[in-house]
Symmetry: C2
Subunit: 239 residues, 2 copies
Amino acid sequence: MVTIRVILLEPLYGGNIGSVARVMMNFGFRDLVLVNPPVIGDEARTFASNPNAIDFLESATVVGSFEEAIHDSNLVVGTTSKMGETENRHVRMPAYSPKALKAKFDGKKGNVSLVFGREDRGLSSNELSRCDIIAVIPTSASYPVMNISHAVAIFLYELQDLSPGQYPLADRYNKDLLYEHIHEFLHKIPYPQHKLEKTALMIKRILGRAELTGREVQTLRGVLKRTERAIKEGRESER
Amino acid sequence: MVTIRVILLEPLYGGNIGSVARVMMNFGFRDLVLVNPPVIGDEARTFASNPNAIDFLESATVVGSFEEAIHDSNLVVGTTSKMGETENRHVRMPAYSPKALKAKFDGKKGNVSLVFGREDRGLSSNELSRCDIIAVIPTSASYPVMNISHAVAIFLYELQDLSPGQYPLADRYNKDLLYEHIHEFLHKIPYPQHKLEKTALMIKRILGRAELTGREVQTLRGVLKRTERAIKEGRESER
């Protein structure tokens, strides 16, 4: 079974944090992590509304960095209201709808973090690039920017009854090692420097949506190591 | 194509009204009716957030009664966070999920009103009994009461891209005449008085979810009239 963590990255307004706590309770979710939030005050408690939701709000985990929030997540989903543009498309694309996430997580096993950015400017490109996959709620093109608690409501509504399963998602630590490995690898081959970062991110997006198991991550790293050895030795292996 | 109206019945807080206006804009809906709302002030405008959403909020139709709000609706959907109990089950049951409403409205034609009750006590039994069908968002049993704007968000998210169609829903006026006719009819047959109101409501719920066309409504009224005539004449018709 996939368990869902909601991460609010540097939320600005207590009212929204309280609203998020309330809607998490509505849909039975209990893992809220706040990255550098404002002090939780009366406004947040008012919006949480129900005494249990207020308790839950006050017991939310508070951390000082994005890395701390996601360190034990098998898969990190960055949410955005902006669809990708050509310029930096691998940062924001391909984007999954809440329904597609539901289909993706049914029958899997692991910890998934849903990350919501600041109310005024969302997640930065750098933060999005640290996510495995990107998700966007289909909205009207003329005013796509939703209130953060509305966005959380819709994701949790879709993800509230995921089917259990045993397909184990790779852990964050080994996946990050793989991503770093790929990045280093691109430096070792004659790859155009100006394309390198984009390609590394593109590969990350491909692997992110492939829902790798731990075994697959190890196998891919093995392939990279053996390829590096072949490059170093300057020859193809004898068959 | 079904067009959706959002009706807030005696909403208490401007912030929620503004939030509802914002999420309607997010999903491209443009028909908001407020029944006896508070004065639209700064709080409502703050929560609407976007200038277009503020304009939209300020142009919402304000009426003084539920009847005025629904008079031109082919189908009225009452929303509730409480599932039906045995006592008055026809008031609250059967309840449709947002996904089931989407399936129901795809390919139809007419005006549908989604009615949301007061933040503190929702819609009364009497108000629910005036709705054709009832809808409920599946939530955690331990804290099912959602913020009103979150509930609107989830319904509109599901209903944002209904398939067009030509199946015409019967108009409110003729459907109300049919319902009244059924009610009167039950008085004309030897029906236990203490069951009469419940049964009338049960029949309304059955017909409500059957999505009658205008022609079907006329036919049913014709059947009732001919039945009444047969009763009056005290005999079965000759075959």
